[in-house]
């Protein structure tokens, strides 16, 4: 087996002419160069910058700072813990509520109930909208003079501030985020469910298995790879979350999130390498899900 493989390998390598080798190098080289220059080198540079002081203006101003950016974040920066808490809350909400709802929806729509195609499209529609548009749409719904306030009998004169109210805005934001997430998870799961033999399900149902038993004993085990991918996607989305909050508030003061803190330190008036340190912390949190994902999708190749 092994010798056959090496033989094939040798044959194909021997058969490559000079021109072919040049073409192949270009095929690999150009995209890889772009990928390394635009992604991996900047990532490494940011990691290095996280150990420096720099205001982002002149390269000659960069000064070594050791761990002080991190020390500052961990010990003098209550907003960091608030962001961490919000990210954790986001994750918890997505894992416990939004993702299971998406799966449930997929599971029910997969039974080919009446109108399932239309439902599929409707639930997925928010996912194709830009967050800039989503921000505007939900502003219409919730702002003073908007639909929800109108339903509560409040016109512009006696409106309440939903976005500014600390006790409810968290849930409003998570709700709007779920509006997008549920559809995404639904479609992913639905496409996975297509590979489950419907006869299996029917047979179990006729034997008197409850829906829950069917889901637990038949669907979940057959969908194992999809399950892991969906969990990873949920994890990464929760860690990366911020665009929606940025669109709504423009600053991290009301609802801090890790990514928002990076963006504030990078794109605002006062550029600070504390942003780089935040980005590195975010990367560290993302590493486990990324590796898990790679292991699942490259299971066969890695063997």
């Amino acid at each position: 087996m092994k010798t056959a493989a090496t033989e094939v390998k040798n044959r194909s390598r021997r058969s490559l002419s000079k021109a072919d080798r040049f073409t192949l190098s270009a095929f690999v080289g150009i995209p890889t160069f772009l990928q390394i220059i635009l992604l991996w080198v900047p990532a490494v540079v940011t990691i290095i910058l996280s150990f420096t002081y720099w205001n982002g203006v002149r390269l000659s101003d960069i000064k070594w700072a050791g761990l002080s950016n991190y020390r500052n974040i961990f010990f003098d920066n209550p907003i960091f813990y608030e962001a961490l808490k919000n990210n954790a809350l986001w994750l918890l909400w997505f894992i416990v509520i939004a993702t299971p709802l998406g799966i449930l929806l997929a599971y029910q729509i997969d039974r080919q109930i009446k109108g399932h195609k239309i439902y599929e499209s409707i639930y997925y529609l928010p996912v194709v909208l830009s967050l800039a548009v989503i921000g505007i749409i939900w502003n219409f719904m919730l702002q003073p003079g908007g639909f929800v306030q109108g339903l509560m009998g409040r016109d512009i004169g006696n409106a309440i501030s939903i976005w500014g109210n600390d006790s409810i805005n968290t849930y409003v934001i998570l709700g709007v985020a779920s509006w997008r997430h549920i559809g995404y998870i639904m479609l992913l799961y639905l496409s996975g469910l297509k590979s489950v033999d419907p006869a299996l399900r029917e047979a179990a149902a006729m034997d008197g298995a409850t829906e829950w038993q069917i889901f637990r004993k038949i669907i979940l085990p057959t969908m194992q790879p999809v399950n892991i991918i969906i969990i990873v996607i949920t994890l990464i989305e929760s860690l990366r979350a911020f665009d929606l909050v940025y669109i709504i508030y423009g600053s991290p003061t009301i609802f801090p999130l890790l990514n928002l803190l990076v963006f504030q330190n990078f794109a605002g008036q006062g550029i600070s390498m504390k942003g780089a340190a935040y980005a590195v912390i975010l990367l560290l949190l993302c590493i486990v899900p990324i590796i898990t994902y790679l292991r699942v999708v490259f299971k066969e190749d890695l063997k």
Binding site: V28, K114, L187
Partner: protein, 295 residues
């Protein structure tokens, strides 16, 4: 035997009833789901003055497209939409081209670095984007200075296209390589035997077979790249060159009171991806499947 049939009928009946209720429930929920979008469309069709006079729940005296006309004239939405196209179309084409090149090499030749290449590209797609903002920003300024023109790629469509390609090519590579694995090796072998060089092997033999995957990916990529707006905020200093999604954020601040006008702007901005999704629904779904649920 007969009891089996009775049982079967009872089961089918029960199932039918259950399906009806579930369908009803999901249907009601679907109306709630789509309502915010419909409400925005509705709002965009009504004059602002009328809302002020009669309130948001008033029955419309007239429905007009004035807000759309104004959005195009006052907000310059047409230009922003054009910017979006100038950035999105080349980005998608280049992403698919580069992705297919890597996928081609990785699946058709047995090089030692194949797996590493695939890992580098796929992992790159999952990095937090914020990790790259500052260095990329500086890199673009630096390259511009090198050629004596700061705006060579910074504050230029070319720069945005480059970063989109850099970030999306990983996903394209991953999807196309898993698709290409299903194309039999024999096809490549016979191409080689026939004396086709590497380029012809790629261009005339493999690329045509990739068409379904390319179609699916292009729909997905178009949506993602069109909807992205952070890079444009970082890399485009001229507002007039920004894509529509980024511009919308500024317009939201500027037209905060006239939300009927803003609604029209938002609907115009949303239209391309929504239409694309509704027309190419099948490709959309299969694109997601190819990428994320390869089992």
């Amino acid at each position: 035997m007969s009891s089996g049939i009775v049982q079967d009928a009872a089961y089918k009946n029960k199932q039918k009833r259950k399906d009806f209720f579930i369908s009803l429930f999901i249907g009601i929920f679907a109306i709630v789901w789509i309502f915010p979008i419909l409400w925005t469309v509705w709002t965009s069709l009504r004059p602002y003055s009328e809302i002020i006079r009669n309130g948001i729940f008033s029955w419309p005296e007239r429905l007009t497209l004035d807000n759309y006309v104004n959005a195009i004239q006052e907000m310059n939405i047409g230009q922003y939409l054009l910017n979006s196209l100038i950035v999105t179309i080349p980005s998608v084409i280049l992403t698919l081209f580069f992705g297919s090149l890597i996928a081609f090499v990785v699946t058709r030749y047995n090089f030692k670095f194949n797996l590493w290449l695939l890992l580098v590209f796929t992992a790159g797609n999952m990095l937090p984007i914020v990790l790259t903002y500052i260095p990329v920003f500086w890199l673009f300024l630096w390259i511009g200075d090198l050629f004596g023109n700061r705006n060579l790629i910074y504050n230029n469509y070319a720069g945005l296209i480059l970063v989109h390609v850099g970030f999306q090519v990983g996903f394209a590579t991953f999807v196309l390589s898993s698709y290409m694995k299903t194309i039999p090796k024999e096809i490549s072998e016979s191409a080689k035997v026939d004396g086709a060089n590497v380029f012809r092997h790629y261009w005339n033999v493999i690329l045509p077979l990739l068409r379904p995957a390319l179609a699916a990916l292009s729909v997905l990529m178009t949506t993602w790249i069109y909807n992205e707006f952070f890079w444009a905020l970082v890399l485009m200093s001229d507002d007039s060159k920004r894509p529509i999604t980024s511009a919308l954020r500024r317009l939201q601040g500027q037209y905060v009171t006239d939300f009927n006008l803003l609604a029209a702007g938002a609907i115009i901005a949303a239209a391309p991806t929504v239409i694309l999704f509704l027309v190419m629904r099948k490709q959309f779904v299969s694109g997601l499947t190819l990428g994320s649920t390869k089992g």
